[in-house]
Subunit: 112 residues, 2 copies
DNA sequence: TTCCTTCATAAGTCATGGCTTATCATAAGG
DNA sequence: CCTTATGATAAGCCATGACTTATGAAGGAA
């Protein structure tokens, strides 16, 4: 699977996003994460495994605990993938906007 | 569900990403998309529905066909969500890097 | 009208994945 | 040693979702 695919699949789950957001506020142990969410400790471990394989978190042993923290570089692939469309679409949009300017219409999208 | 949640869930599926990427290269009909992918036309329609509800595509009738195109603004929520972590982590990283500089060490996380 | 094409929806199948409880390994403390 | 705390894994349950085929609606073309 592609890098961005792994990252997207990992972040698509709400519980995993909650874990990720908590770790973004500060590194913490598995039990600490489990205490802050309404799921069991094994569920947390499973989610952390997915996040780790996606390159979004890293872990480090500390005594009998294991401290997990965010790997900010893990968001890189997703960001790059996003930027592709961003640039493509902005370029295409600009062409439309320029042609619309001649007709007096502003670059506006119709609301649903 | 949150906006970024919808977008992430929509883009997490490989087939939907393929559809999205194809539409990014140019607007096209449902049958046209179906011809370019190894799934049936109903499957494509179902995926397009999800993408549309996530705000990632828009459609417009053209005779008996329906032309789908990308809505570039749909990526906004995901991008904003991403930027939050990006900034947070870069800021935290910078603080560590600065404090470590005084001690001559490289940008590394403190132990314990 | 009668085709023919395009597309959406309904209904059903099947695999995936998120969760649980149970269990085991490891590390610290008595 | 034994106990406690922590976390990873196994096994099973069950809901979700990605697909299929079948069908119907809607818009040209004959």
């Amino acid at each position: 699977m592609t890098y961005e695919g792994k990252v997207l699949a990992a972040l698509a789950d709400p519980t995993r996003r909650a874990i990720f957001e908590k770790l973004a506020k500060g590194r913490s142990s598995v039990a600490d994460v489990a205490r802050s969410l309404p799921v069991s400790q094994p569920a947390i471990s499973q989610h952390l495994k997915v996040l780790k394989e996606a390159g979004l978190v890293s872990d480090e042993p500390l005594g009998q605990r294991r401290i997990y923290s965010i790997d900010p570089a893990g968001l890189g692939p997703l960001r790059q993938w996003l930027d592709r469309f961003w640039e493509d679409q902005l370029a295409a949009f600009k062409v439309l906007a320029d042609s619309d300017e001649a007709s007096g219409a502003g670059p506006r999208k119709p609301e649903r």
